[in-house]
Symmetry: C2
Subunit: 232 residues, 2 copies
């Protein structure tokens, strides 16, 4: 498609990648269509469930992820953003399969935390069971001076996991209260900010009143990283 | 990308095509990611302005539109939806360049009008100056028993055209009142429903209170046509 085109490997879930495209547009300074960032969104919701693959021996999503990356390469994209945190468990395999830079969502979240005035210290991380089991945030943020607090297994089972499923089934409003409760618990345990480290979570959190502490929306974080990549 | 994949030729404008992806997702009956419709969105906001090409001798958008269609064909899509009404002024040239069916947004709007309980009679059509000058709706809907009322040139200049530009510059809230006023005028002149026949217009209209008469949102209409195409 030409230089400066963003490739978006999405569909995981599809509402999150649509919202990513919306935020990419709304966060870009523009006066007319032609000022916006060209992008190709490969929205493939058929990619096997990432958490099931990591925690329950479900089918491997990697061949599907690599097919999407090839499609975005063929379309002429110059970089890739993946608005799904759990898919970053396959980051190294994806990055070694393409010459295009992949913007890492955890690095984007760290930039967003700094922008929110939380440059280090204890933070909460909410995500899928797969993301938490892989220590995706814990490993990558520890070198940046953050300590990650995550929900207890019982809180995952009662609050976070069912709420993520509600969003994937388009019942966004039903997801608000359990997600807000899980975030409040992490804040009470000492988190200075809470990372919404699954792209379904900000969709649920946006369906109700704002939380009274900083939250790092990983859809916005990745959109801002893409806008920086595009030099806008 | 495989059978049953929807190609979306978008970026005209980018907020409208992101919203199309959102509505496609929210209007699909689904319990998990894998129930949703796979899609590739080619969001190219660099396509030259369609209205300027039609009414002011601006650069021809057709080569850009055809390049997007080739990209969607190469990605393996099975049909194409174009969430930009004015681009349908080049429908015949696009359709003759591809073996993929292109879902026509005016046909989608007619289906939506019927669903809203307005199977014929006088309707209002709001759109870009390009869409109205091409008689896109007037010609295609007349055979279906509709008579189209459109804004007067002074109303286009004072209300509709500047409001569409506000949406393209991300100032969605500022677009509500002028668009609502133009719709009210058409309703007062006898329109039984008003077609929001530019995909920026529903974004502005959604930013304020609902109008007290039926409106046909062409983003929703095209999303429903795509869901029918996918057999969901």
């Amino acid at each position: 498609m030409g230089e400066g085109v963003l490739g978006v490997l999405g569909g995981m879930g599809p509402l999150a990648s649509a919202e990513f495209m919306r935020r990419l547009t709304l966060l870009t300074t523009a006066e007319r269509d032609q000022d916006h960032i060209p992008a190709v969104l490969w929205s493939d919701p058929r990619v096997p469930d990432r958490t099931a693959a990591r925690t329950g021996g479900g089918p491997d999503p990697l061949p599907w992820l690599l097919r999407g990356i090839s499609g975005l390469e063929a379309a002429g994209c110059g970089a890739i953003a993946i608005p799904c945190n759990t898919a970053h468990g396959w980051f190294d395999a994806m990055q070694s399969a393409t010459r295009l830079p992949i913007l890492h969502i955890v690095d984007a979240a760290a930039e967003e935390l700094a922008r929110l005035g939380v440059p280090g210290g204890p933070i909460g991380v909410m995500g899928t069971a797969g993301t938490l089991a892989m220590n995706l945030y814990q490993q990558r943020l520890q070198g940046r001076g953050y300590t990650c607090l995550v929900p207890e297994p019982a809180e995952m089972q009662a609050l976070v996991t069912p709420a993520i499923a509600e969003v994937k089934a388009n019942r966004v409003t039903a997801a608000y209260e359990p997600l807000a409760e899980a975030a409040r618990i992490l804040h009470h345990r000492g988190a200075r900010a809470v990372v919404l480290g699954c792209t379904e979570i900000p969709l649920g959190i946006a369906a109700g009143p704002a939380l009274p502490f900083p939250v790092c929306d990983t859809i916005d974080a990745l959109a801002r990283a893409a806008i920086r990549w595009a030099g806008r």
